[in-house]
Symmetry: C2
Subunit: 316 residues, 2 copies
């Protein structure tokens, strides 16, 4: 791309639309997969239209966010990051719990609306691509991303790419069963990992312990201030993070496990219990390596940055 | 390779050494990854030396098996399939519960002993490669092999290759935790999948139900004859097969799941309960595909055939 172009990544999340305009530096697109430092030159946010609003309103909000982020600069392309199941071809959004689209040909639709090449990918896959290109998964042969937010998301990384799976569904770690006949999950199953390891799980653990509702950032603030109950609640989430990750490590043998998502902002209060549980839950650690469990580089903007990188690299 | 050469695959198992001499047909090595029909032209078996025997005896038994399998034909190369952890480079056997080697540079050692190119790989990975080239995973983009034998083994298949993982340990499904604080496993952990889904688990379920020890083939014969207890015991193993597979499917989204290993010889008595449990344990099956769960093509000779194919293709 010419240096006076930007690629815009748009993360269409549950509560807002975040657009970032990206200009790469530290390398050339198409010449090196990783080790490029993306330069965010502008960001724009728009509120999500209400759940009952027609999809046209959501489309319009996305177009406005893209226009605001690009400003006067030429647009090289757009990447869309969506919290839902995207097909393996990157053409359709098949399903998203918090978005109005069902089996929607979003890539093509936004190419028509924006008159520019559009790439479409799942938000955790976008976040993983950002970590591969410029974050905690730079230069690794294989890795996993586990995002601990409201629920659990994730991605499988291999050979500098995000693995999509046969139907676009690889990395859906949140609904792996970790407790037979365990806690009921919104998905209709029981004992799903995200019932034990997520922001919602953290709130539940605190509520059970002290009888009061505190949200995740409140628990995090208390834990940082040394509150024992808050620390133990986060440690419980971290232990389940390690236990579940151990199963994935047995299956994939990744070089590194990257932990992202809102809950991971508490850092080692979460990661240290997770590291202990991971090591304790792996078979044969006398003769096999325990992969490093590291924090993601990118925070809430990971999906948008990854989507912009997908657009820049013509992937997705 | 010239048509008057064979490649010999040797499976070094817990109880015997099996060597097969392979001549490919239906395609040319190096030109098509899959869709070649391997032709087994000779087999040879040798008993395993006792556990306390020096490794020299085991080496000698392997050399004799190779010599017997190749007969008078020129030897193009040898593949070694071992029931243990092989490093990612295919050079060392790091650990094997039932073999005397530890951190042993087996590939090089046998190249010296045999004066021919040698490839070394884990037995489940060899079996998966046989399924990729000429079996149930032919032509697929991604898949999983789960072998239900004495324990559980497995492999991850992607793009016509077996995924080794960062340290050679990908596909070690047997010790994924499926029950927190569950049954104690020989590996030192609790609740490992193979405690609920394996030949040993089948024997335990029957022993608990009827108070008698029956081995796997006896249970299988009773089940085929319509015995209710035997059928329910196999169904219990099959249900756990489906539950554990569901977690792997959420993580990988494979096109197909291939079930091999000795217990899988009972066929649909195992696979039908597994298919039901798989479908029941996956989130969002209204909008995502449940992968086919299919029997492996190759039985007890899978490891040896896959090792010969690795040698033929220069992989491993």
């Amino acid at each position: 791309m010419s240096s006076d172009e930007v690629h815009v990544g748009v993360d269409v999340g549950g509560s807002k639309i975040l657009a970032v305009a990206l200009r790469p530096s530290g390398g050339n697109a198409g010449t090196a997969v990783t080790d490029r430092e993306p330069e965010v030159v502008a960001t724009a946010t728009r509120p999500m239209p209400g759940r009952e609003a027609p999809t046209g309103e959501l489309e319009a909000a996305i177009l406005v966010a893209v226009a605001e982020a690009r400003g006067e600069t030429a647009l090289g392309g757009v990447g869309l990051s969506v919290a839902g199941l995207v097909d393996a071809a990157g053409e359709h959004l098949r399903f998203a719990a918090h978005l109005p689209w069902r089996a929607a040909p979003l890539r093509r639709r936004f190419e028509e609306l924006l008159a520019t090449p559009v790439r479409l990918a799942n938000d955790a896959n976008c976040a993983a691509y950002a970590e591969i290109v410029a974050g905690a998964a730079r230069g690794i042969s294989s890795g996993l991303l586990v995002t601990v937010g409201t629920g659990i998301g994730g991605a499988v990384m291999m050979g500098g790419q995000v693995v999509r799976g046969a139907h676009g569904g690889a990395g859906e770690f949140g609904h792996m069963q970790v407790v037979p006949d365990g806690l009921a999950c919104e998905c209709g199953l029981r004992g799903c990992w995200e019932q034990y390891c997520s922001g919602r799980a953290l709130e539940r653990v605190v509520r059970v312990a002290v009888g009061t509702h505190l949200d995740g950032p409140e628990v995090a603030a208390l834990a940082r201030a040394g509150d024992t109950v808050a620390r133990e609640a986060i440690a419980s989430i971290g232990t389940w993070l390690g236990v579940g990750t151990a199963g994935l490590v047995s299956a994939f043998d990744p070089e590194v496990v990257v932990i992202g998502g809102g809950v991971s902002a508490v850092g080692d209060l979460l990661l240290e219990p997770a590291r202990r549980a991971l090591a304790d839950s792996l078979q044969g650690t006398d003769y096999r390596e325990v992969p490093a469990l590291v924090p993601a580089r990118f925070g809430p903007e990971a999906g948008a940055i990854g989507a912009a990188l997908y657009s820049l690299d013509g992937i997705g």
